[in-house]
Symmetry: C2
């Protein structure tokens, strides 16, 4: 029996499944290709994730977030090195929602950290923004699942900044580390952006700076203002460049993992993440259809009507929803 009789789609699907199989068994090039498919979204991503998802659910996912310039990348590398030193397989996902293209900053990291880039037990991947925070969080979720399924025991997600997208990405982690540096007013910025609400562990990086004590004191004060809770996020000083404090950080992360396990909070978060993933996938699909509807049909006339104030946005939206298969309900 020749394989040639198969329709092209089935042959491609079979090839994709073979690639996934190899990725799950440690083939790094196959894994990289699978991650690209997952990042690309659409039907191929949905198909790939269907095959991968049942194998995921074992890795500990740690998010690192905070303002640019806080040394987050260096800290992620130091943490990866720490876990690697204990024989674990580690993946690092760098997410930059502000950059339309990936690679820049991370390439820099790879050059600075040849030990990690050359290590087969470490997988580094950078992701950039694709069509808004929803799409990015969805793709990041799929990428983390694939790395998890491929046997990386620790998956570190590093995000830049303090917007909605970063918080959405950070929420995918079991434990979220919020990184600040002393003396930049970043504590305040991060506070305003709601970063502290998602922080399970707070890090003052570059703790060898003279202003570090004040930064730590400020964080402690901010914490004292928060309502009492079962888990009080510890403040860990680190110097990522030298590795100082990284073992303490790993210890704090481990304590948080134990807390999640002991209290059922871990299960609650897994459900919460699952719900967000389902909603994210649904919204991505709807967004795709709306964008398609924008290109043709009634949309230009609807926009003109609203621009000329002849039609309200709500009434135009009702028309648009009908055009994408969603009749008006209310």
């Amino acid at each position: 029996v020749r394989a040639g009789w198969r329709p092209a789609g089935a042959a491609r699907a079979a090839g994709a499944l073979d690639t996934i199989e190899r990725a799950l068994h440690g083939d790094r090039r196959a894994l990289a290709r699978v991650l690209s498919v997952l990042e690309g979204g659409g039907a191929p991503a949905a198909e790939a994730l269907r095959a991968i998802y049942p194998h995921a659910g074992r890795a500990q996912v740690v998010g690192l977030t905070g303002p640019a310039g806080s040394g987050k990348s260096t800290l992620a590398a130091a943490l990866a090195r720490y876990y690697r030193g204990r024989g674990e397989r580690v993946a690092v996902v760098a997410v930059d929602p502000t950059s339309p293209y990936s690679g820049g900053a991370l390439l820099g990291d790879r050059v600075r950290m040849p030990d990690l880039a050359a290590d087969d037990g470490v997988f580094i991947r950078s992701m950039a923004s694709r069509g808004g925070s929803g799409g990015l969080a969805l793709a990041a979720n799929a990428v983390v699942a694939a790395l998890d399924a491929a046997g990386y025991q620790r998956v570190l997600i590093e995000t830049v900044g303090a917007g909605q997208a970063e918080i959405a990405v950070a929420k995918m982690a079991h434990t979220t580390v919020v990184v600040t540096v002393p003396g930049l007013g970043d504590e305040v910025q991060a506070l305003k952006a709601g970063l502290f609400e998602v922080g399970d562990v707070l890090v003052v990086n570059k703790a060898d700076r003279p202003e570090a004590d004040r930064a730590q004191a400020e964080l402690a004060m901010l914490q004292s203002l928060a309502p009492a809770a079962a888990w009080q996020p510890p403040v860990v000083p680190t110097v990522a460049l030298t590795g100082d404090g990284v073992a303490d950080l790993a210890g704090a992360i481990a304590r948080h993992a134990a807390y999640l396990e002991a209290t059922g909070e871990g299960r609650r978060r897994v459900r919460e993440r699952a719900e967000a993933a389902v909603l994210g996938a649904a919204q991505a699909e709807i967004g795709k259809r709306l964008t398609r509807a924008l290109g043709g049909g009634r949309m230009p006339a609807l926009v003109s009507g609203v621009a000329e104030h002849e039609l309200s946005p709500y009434d135009a939206a009702s028309d648009l929803l009908a055009a994408v298969g969603l009749g008006t309900e209310s």
Copy 2:
């Protein structure tokens, strides 16, 4: 003929239309009630906006955005006072996407600015976040349309911060003013957050501070890095507290309005805003239905399936979309 025979819904609708009529003719209490209906969303908001929208489209909408602490509220008040001094009717909409409740900061402003609060030619309204940036932008759009329809010639929208929501709100304006202050590194924060991309006029407020010259020089340098464009955003130093530079700011806003008019860029923006408003309304409606679907039916089972890694988020989303009336397409 008694009105009593009407069904309750029709009577309520007639009452709402009467309230709208009075709001459009200068009744401030009626206007406040209409704005609350618009903020509340749903069918009553859609109905109210249908009646209001044809009367809007005359006001000049100016957005003011920038980091907290830049004195934006004081600057908005100073600008309102300036326009008021020329006999115009001015509305100020303060949007705080970070606050779940409205009123706090603005109430402070009212106490500090009794002249504006007591002036019948000025209308001040604060809005807080309701269900994410999409809902907020949609509600803000409707509120601005109502103030416009009620005859306020200048509508100032003031937003806090630098997230997606603020940028969405700022994009509703004809002219967007980005406010920074010297010496806080806010230029850099605002730059990173993409605020400068939406700025038609850049303000260095608190320009009496010693670091002001450096801040202006930095902004000028940032501008020199931007690609050449038909409109080069001017940098205007102000001291909002004393009113210094506010006339210059009004001049820069007027020049930008003339540029919009002369080049057709104004029309392009109106279309862009209309498109965003239609999409926003469509997404709000879809979000409402998804949230409703979350409450019951198949959703808990879908979330469990994803949480247990038995089902991928994409496949769960397909089920969810089918449940809200969107069959799978692709």
